[in-house]
Symmetry: C2
Subunit: 345 residues, 2 copies
């Protein structure tokens, strides 16, 4: 057990009361800016509080208020700038509602996610945001009854704020199909079973053109650069390369392009690579990445609104989220065989 305790004499409301020769309850009122306290008293108390370095004790306050004024965000991968956008949206919207935001990073590990959720529940957050949850839905179903949890990007749950996930993937797949690709690889990311909208769209797209589903063209990305490295290795070990790859996200795509280049495979000449998310780096690399823009910031905002109306007892209406947008850049082109017949940007 940790028992670290800074050798500090914490100043409480009582200390201020003593110094000001008033009752603690008066200090409370003064500090809250209540008008039911003489101005002179209020000023004196504020000055004293500042002088003495008073810091409110949130624990005590939360205990009596039965609310912490906190919103927790469970981030699966801090390493991915994608989630920073979400966080910013959450923060901006939360500020409007006098809520403060706390973040916990799980590294995409299910057990850690559980821990983070638990921590926030113990903190009695007024709202808990879980984008791209790793835990199975069952886990959250049990919690939903008792806690203000809102998911982001989880079509299979009730309390969730979503963008059109399948639509986004269709954008990518159709783009690839239109370029003439027929044999397309797919990189799946970490997700609980049954929650893979990208995979769904991928398979549907293949079906739509009567192309076979080839399991060896399915790869797995766990968020780490190493895992991308592995994918490149698997790819280049294939008898025949697919002509295009739909990567799990931009981070994965960028690393993949690099890993392929190191193996002498050129993008998009030898193989097209499409990403997902449109992080800012995506436009900076060479070749610039074809991807789908995902309104993460807005999703962050909306999930706080959702949370808030939930707290007010209102039935939250499904928020308007801008649709995903296809961003065609340089990492995708026509496949080798049809290359000479098609203009590649």
């Amino acid at each position: 057990m940790a028992k670290p305790s800074w050798q500090t004499r914490r100043v409480t409301i009582k200390d201020i009361a003593k110094a000001a020769a008033v009752d603690p309850s008066t200090v409370t009122r003064a500090l809250q800016g209540s008008d039911r306290v003489r101005e002179a008293t209020r000023n004196k108390i504020s000055a004293l509080a500042a002088d003495m370095g008073y810091v409110p004790n949130m624990a005590a306050r939360t205990l009596v208020n039965r609310s912490s004024g906190l919103v927790g965000v469970v981030i699966p991968d801090m390493t991915n700038p994608f989630f920073a956008d979400l966080a910013r949206g959450v923060e901006d919207e939360a500020a409007k509602h006098d809520l403060r935001v706390l973040i916990s990073d799980t590294g995409g590990v299910e057990a850690v996610e559980r821990g983070a959720v638990n921590l926030f529940l113990e903190l009695k957050v007024d709202g808990l945001l879980v984008p791209m949850a790793r835990c199975p839905q069952q886990y959250y179903d049990d919690l939903h009854a008792a806690a203000p949890i809102v998911h982001v990007n989880s079509d299979d749950t009730e309390h969730t704020v979503n963008c059109d996930t399948v639509g986004a993937s269709e954008l990518i797949m159709n783009h690839l199909l239109e370029l003439g690709h027929r044999r397309i690889g797919f990189v799946r990311g970490p997700a609980p079973p049954g929650r893979e909208p990208k995979m769904f769209a991928y398979r549907q797209a293949l079906e739509s053109i009567g192309a076979p589903y080839e399991p060896e063209l399915i790869f797995s990305f766990d968020g780490s650069f190493d895992s991308t490295e592995k994918i490149a290795a698997q790819l280049s070990a294939l008898d025949e390369l697919p002509t295009a790859i739909y990567a799990h996200n931009d981070v994965n795509a960028i690393a993949l392009i690099h890993a392929l280049r190191q193996r002498g495979i050129a993008v998009p000449d030898d193989i097209s690579v499409a990403g997902h998310d449109n992080i800012q780096m995506a436009g900076c690399i060479e070749p610039a990445l074809t991807t789908v823009a995902w309104p993460m910031y807005e999703l962050g905002q909306q999930s706080v609104r959702y949370l808030y109306s939930l707290g007010e007892g209102k039935k939250p209406q499904q928020a308007k989220i801008p649709p995903p947008r296809l961003i065609v850049r340089e990492s995708t082109g026509a496949p080798r065989s049809t290359r000479r017949n098609t203009a590649s940007s």
Copy 2:
């Protein structure tokens, strides 16, 4: 004032006590796994707690324990993967000490940083980590007396865990100098006045070769892509381009290389660009980025250790941090004029 309250009947230790027909204090003991409670009782209580969906109230616990078991991390820019490494180091080390980690993102805005620090103080965190603080040192000096604050990368304070900041910049500058560069640009980042080790090393390096300090070769980066865009514009408006640029960090460098390319300026042919931090993307882009590796993960670990020994009342000894390493890749080369005389990698 926000008053969102999920319509929840929160189960407390008392409820469990009632259900188990024991005293609340027994429940406490049972839940703590104390051996001073009959095993049968303990099991019954644990089962009950799980069934009833009991979630400990941290507020109450913190209040009585006078410690929250929390470590707060104030991140200046979640968008930069660099800080994710720090967070991971913190988390891993914190876990060893039974501490839980909470993160707050400030976007590099001083006022927001103040807010985040305040929030953590109110939460009565056992430790507060502030890497690359934006607030002036004075602000923290006042707090240090009362709160367990540890800085990361702030040479000018007492309670800080540092890498050799100046040394890292010297690595870059010497590399540039050795390549033959004499006219070098510098991108400064957001920092309180007086806390600019990179700038210090930059000027020293110039002095060492008797090169003049040219203010027009100093640019400012605020963390946003837009600001890098502006730098590129300023650069290309110059009568004569410097032959090299020492960018504030890798994010800045990567965006800068892109912005320059769009203006027809090639890296490293027309201008060399060096970064700082060695984020994973740095090796993925084209041209791969020359940079310094910065032991962020270790700094995270060490700052928690520092915090912990501080809490134990020990005088924390300055931790061993691996030195920064120069990573030479492709974004730097000999300057134009000397190009033909020098082998460029």
